[in-house]
C-alpha cells in the first residue's frame, strides 16, 4: 500500500538523519572540474596529434628506395602509431568528459565529436608550428626508455651505411676533402663528394647535424656522398 503520509515521513527522515542540501559551490566545483578535465584532455590530444604530425613530417619519404622497400610499406612502417593511438584515446575521453558536464548531454554526438576534432587539430597545428612538438619528442627520447621503443625512430633509418644512409654531427669541414662527422654511435666518418646540398644554401660547418645519402667506400669509414641534407637535430 502507498504510504499515507509520504511528505511527513520524508521530512521526519530528513530531520532524523540531519540531512542538509549540499552547498551550491560543491555542484559548481564539480562542473568546473569536468570542464577543466575537458580542456586538459583537449590539450593532451592536441599534443599527441602535433607529435604525430611532427614525426610524419620529419620522416624522409624519399629514402624508402634505399631501404629496399616500397613507398606504401615504408608509409605503414613509419606511421607514428603511438601518437595517433594516444590522440584518439584522449579524444574518446574528451567526449566522455563532455557528457559528464552539467549540460554536456545536450550536444548532438556527431556535432560534438566534429567540434572536438576541429579543436584538437587547430591546437595541434599551433603546438606544431610553435615548435613544442619537437621539444616534447626530444625530451621524451632523452628522458625515457620506453619512447624510443614505441615510436618508429627515423634516426635508425639513417643508421644504415650499408644501404647508403648515414647521419651525424659535422666535426670539421674542408672544401677540398669534404668533411668529417661523428654518428650517434660515436663513429667517425670521412664524407666526400661531389655532393648536392639540401637545401642548397645551408652552411656546412662544425656542429651542424646532417643526413647523408651515398655509398660506403671501404676500407675504413669513408663515405662517398651524393646528397647532404641539413637535419633538425
Amino acid at each position: 500500500m502507498p504510504k499515507e503520509n509520504l511528505a511527513e515521513d520524508t521530512l521526519k527522515k530528513i530531520e532524523e538523519d540531519k540531512i542538509k542540501p549540499t552547498p551550491r559551490w560543491c555542484f559548481a566545483t564539480k562542473n568546473y572540474l569536468f570542464w577543466l578535465l575537458f580542456a586538459v584532455f583537449v590539450l593532451f590530444s592536441s599534443v599527441a596529434l602535433s607529435d604525430a604530425i611532427f614525426l610524419f613530417k620529419k620522416d624522409n619519404w624519399s629514402v624508402h628506395q634505399y631501404l629496399g622497400r616500397g613507398f606504401f610499406k615504408h608509409f605503414f612502417v613509419s606511421m607514428p602509431y603511438f601518437w595517433i593511438i594516444l590522440a584518439i584515446l584522449f579524444l574518446l575521453l574528451i567526449n566522455y568528459i563532455l557528457r559528464k558536464t552539467e549540460c554536456g548531454y545536450k550536444y548532438d554526438t556527431k556535432k560534438a565529436v566534429g567540434l572536438e576534432i576541429v579543436a584538437v587539430v587547430v591546437f595541434a597545428l599551433v603546438i606544431f608550428f610553435v615548435g613544442l612538438s619537437s621539444i616534447i619528442h626530444q625530451s621524451l627520447l632523452n628522458r625515457t626508455n620506453f619512447y624510443d621503443a614505441v615510436i618508429y625512430d627515423e634516426n635508425k633509418t639513417w643508421d644504415n651505411p650499408n644501404r647508403g644512409l648515414i647521419s651525424g654531427r659535422v666535426v670539421s669541414f674542408d672544401d677540398q676533402s669534404g668533411f668529417f662527422m661523428v654518428d650517434r654511435h660515436q663513429e667517425n666518418w670521412h664524407v666526400f663528394g661531389p655532393f648536392r646540398k639540401e637545401p642548397p644554401n645551408f652552411l656546412l660547418g662544425p656542429g651542424v647535424q646532417v643526413r647523408v645519402i651515398g655509398r660506403m667506400v671501404p676500407p675504413g669509414n669513408n663515405f662517398m656522398a651524393n646528397i647532404v641534407k641539413q637535419c633538425c637535430h
Binding site: 521530512l11 527522515k13 540531512i19 542538509k20 560543491c26
Partner: protein, 196 residues
Amino acid sequence: MMEINSNITEKTDQELVSMTFEHKENYAHLITRYEDKLRRYILRLSGGRVEDTEDILQDVFVKVYKNLNGYDSNLKFSSWIYRIAHNETITFLRKINRRPTTYNFELDAVKVKTIKEDLNIEEAIDQKQLSGDILKIINSLNPKYKDVLLLRYVEDKDYSEISDILRKPPGTVATLLRKAKDIFKQEILKNKHLLN
C-alpha cells in the same frame, strides 16, 4: 512556517524550491505535488512491488532535497525530478539484480488514442484491448526503447523533456523514439491475434 494550502497550487516549482530553502517544512508541498506522478512512473519503470516503489520514492525525495542546490533552473523542475527518479529506480533494480517486470495497468482512453494515431494502427487494434496490454508490450522491449516510450506516451513528456530526463542528446531521443515506435508497432501487429 508552512504556506497556506490554497496558495500553494498557484506556486511554481521554482517558487516551492525557494520556499524550501527558507523553511524545510515547505518541502512537503513539492513532495505532495509529485508523489503520485513519480509513484506511478517508478512502478511502471520497475514493475516492482508496491513496497519497493515506496522505498524508492522516499529515497528519490531525500535525494532531491540533498541536491536541491544542484538543480539547474534552465531545466524544468519536473524533468530534473523525473531524472532522479529514473536513476534511483535503475540503481535499485541493479542493486537487487532484477530486471524490470510487467506491471499491468490500464491507460486512459486519450493516451491510447494518441498512441494509435501516432503509430497509425487505428484500424488494426481494438482500443480497449490495446489499453490493457500496452505495458506488457512496452515492458518486453529493450530498456532503451521502453524508457522513451514510457516517457513519451505514458508520462506525456516532449522530446526536450525526455532528453533532459535521460541525459541524452535530443537527436538521439528522436532516433530512439522512431525505432521504439517501429518495434512497438511490429510487436502490436504480431500479437494482434492474441489481443483480438
